[in-house]
Amino acid sequence: MSDTAHGRSPYKIYWITWAILLVITVSMLAAEAFHLPRIFTVLFLLAFMMVKAAMIGGNFMHLRFERRNLTWMVAAGILVTSLILYTFITPESWNVRVKSQGPPPDSITVGERR
């Protein structure tokens, strides 16, 4: 069978995706060099991470060409469950951090005076 059905190489999509992923990766590495406020750098990195994930899922794993319910099962299943996990697990880490550092110095002083 011909590699060039419909006049386009069927392999092209992988190498275009590869090139885009490479450019995004280099941009992410260069992001630190711009010395933007930390929040912007983090948001930039997270946004590009999601773009890369979408490109791998869509083009390499062919989710773009699958039936919509399969795409939704995969994308929503992973994203929603991850969000629930993160929301319910990580807030407790602040309590752990506070406990590991002990009470603030002021409260110790107050306690000693008593």
Binding site: I56, F60, M61, R67, I78, S93
Partner: protein, 213 residues
């Protein structure tokens, strides 16, 4: 056939060769496996977020602990191996066995190079005193603020990912051998490809969340 009403309904739903996702049962099951495996990494990354936020000291600057250029090289290798794997899947679908085999072999080479880089990185860090339960006394890593939380996150995240790369390599080697013998159907290459791309996908998250953010 059983004439009981409820049995008939069940058979109509599950016994008629229906494909609810418009895909073969192999592909559907592979996707369900990928979702469950992704949730394993999701849990690990949430654990990492927990450890990082609970860390009493500022999180170490990764550029001082790792060579980010080296990690970028590992990313490049994995992305390239994903592109060759995609080409292998397409070649297998088109019935071009030689091209499919060549691309699976390229992917194996990429995966091996990635694992070698990871082994080098682990060896380097362990020689510097990193352990699963934190840096040992006198380790130069302590000067960079490396804590037990950091080494735990590093070894668990990259270790689980590396073990997936290793199992992916085993699957690819079996696929290559069977393809060379003409025994792997196109769908077999596609299933191996889905797993390999998943490994690449997980690395995107680890690379960003652990090494960059």
């Amino acid at each position: 056939m059983d004439t009981a009403g409820h049995v008939t309904v069940l058979e109509a739903g599950w016994g008629g060769g229906a494909a609810p996702f418009g895909a073969s049962w192999q592909k559907t099951m592979m996707w369900i496996f990928i979702v469950t495996d992704a949730l394993l990494f999701s849990g690990l990354l949430c654990g990492y977020a927990f450890l990082r936020q609970a860390n009493p000291a500022p999180w170490p600057d990764r550029t001082e602990v790792f060579s980010i250029a080296f990690i970028a090289l590992m990313t490049f290798i994995l992305i390239t191996s994903s592109a060759t794997m995609g080409s292998a899947v397409t070649a297998a679908r088109l019935g071009d066995r030689k091209k499919a085999l060549a691309n699976v072999v390229f992917t194996i080479m990429g995966g091996t190079a990635f694992l070698s880089c990871q082994a080098y990185e682990w060896t380097h860090l362990i020689r510097e005193g990193a352990r699963l339960n934190g840096p040992i006394a006198g380790s130069p890593l302590l000067e960079h603020g490396v804590t037990a939380q950091f080494t735990q996150a590093f070894f668990l995240l990259t270790g689980f990912h590396g073990s997936h790369v290793f199992s992916g390599l085993v699957i690819l080697i079996i696929t290559a051998i069977r393809t060379s013998m003409g025994k792997t159907p196109a769908q077999g290459v596609e299933m191996a490809g889905l797993y390999w791309h998943f490994v690449d996908l997980v690395w995107v998250f680890i690379f960003t969340l652990f090494y960059l953010v």
